[in-house]
Point group: C2
Chain length 207, copies 2
Amino acid sequence: MRVIKAHDERKNEILNTAERLFRTKGYEKSTVNDILKEVDIAKGTFYHYFKSKEEVMDAIVLRYKDSIVSRAEKTLIRDDISPEEKLMHTFMAMRINDEVDGEMLNELHKAENALLHQKTLNQIVTAIAPILVKVIEEGTQKKAWRCKYPLQYMQIFLSASLTLTDEGIFALDADSQMKVIAALISVLEKMLDVPEDSFIQLFMQHW
Amino acid sequence: MRVIKAHDERKNEILNTAERLFRTKGYEKSTVNDILKEVDIAKGTFYHYFKSKEEVMDAIVLRYKDSIVSRAEKTLIRDDISPEEKLMHTFMAMRINDEVDGEMLNELHKAENALLHQKTLNQIVTAIAPILVKVIEEGTQKKAWRCKYPLQYMQIFLSASLTLTDEGIFALDADSQMKVIAALISVLEKMLDVPEDSFIQLFMQHW
DNA sequence: GATTATAGACTGACGGTCGGTCGGTGAAAG
DNA sequence: CTTTCACCGACCGACCGTCAGTCTATAATC
């Protein structure tokens, strides 16, 4: 029985199913046949839309990055919140997330998903760091922050955050997890040369 | 033609060959058959020593970690160098390295080696951070360093270092690479609450 | 009728298994 | 002091199942 759908609709079906499978079973352990069975299509259909299994992963990563970037950019141009709140909102967007993206950074990064994690890390750091730099520039003007290497600091902060809070890489208990996060915020304060503990409160509110 | 060797000798032959192949071709692209051909053994022999291809990778990562840890521990107990020199030596050991380990962190981390990178990162951070904490404790006494989250700071520092300076993850030109390293050292200074630029000179000497 | 979407049988490569062989070792038998 | 023989574990390679990816045919759509 042959069902024909609009190009984008079918493509998204594949993408959504693949994402769910990768997230729950891991990339390596999810086979193309698994995807076919769930979407209820044949091999040829899959390869009509994507030229490889890895291309599906790349598309998923890109979609995720775009959603984070778009939220970060909306936050950037707001004029009703302070720069430090903008920083916090952007970090939160990368972690908490609603529904779809939600489990991405938390569930998707199992040990089997090293490649997916690496690709995501690369995309997020590359795309988000420059946005955060703009927030820092705003803070430098309005709040007299001082920051020697804005871009590099944000790269450091983001890569450490995404790596250390990844349950697939470091299996930390809740307490250790909180200590790492507190330390990350503390590092951020030092990076921006603001008084100790001036961000941690703000963070707790948005948690 | 059947050649019989001592258990450890054969095991190391497999390990060395696998490491070289993984490093040059990447883990995924190196097949078990490639290893067999180079070591000149049969399938059964390989699986007599290792129960899977991944177990070989784990053994390689462990061997690498052990070599780094052993050097770090030797550095730790020296009494002819300052704590800041100990920090630098340990970081250097993770990057420059002689011969065998040498190309590990530089060549081995191609995009195909995400899993290998992740496993190495995990091992190094888990094993080295506690040793660096001891160096910091020494510095806190002798040099009046001040450090609020020693372990977490070292975890942050190590994971950011190993991720950002990895050519397989972020392809940076020489200039960007240097800026990131300078920023990392700057962060380290802030973490230990020492004056700005007090470590950077030291680092340049050991580079 | 040309293009696009779908189908699914097929291929080749790869990781891993399995039944069995061969050489060395050590102890009992001669 | 040999010789025999049971046993161990290193070694072999044909074989198997799985999986990503290919190819050709065919149905729907414009």
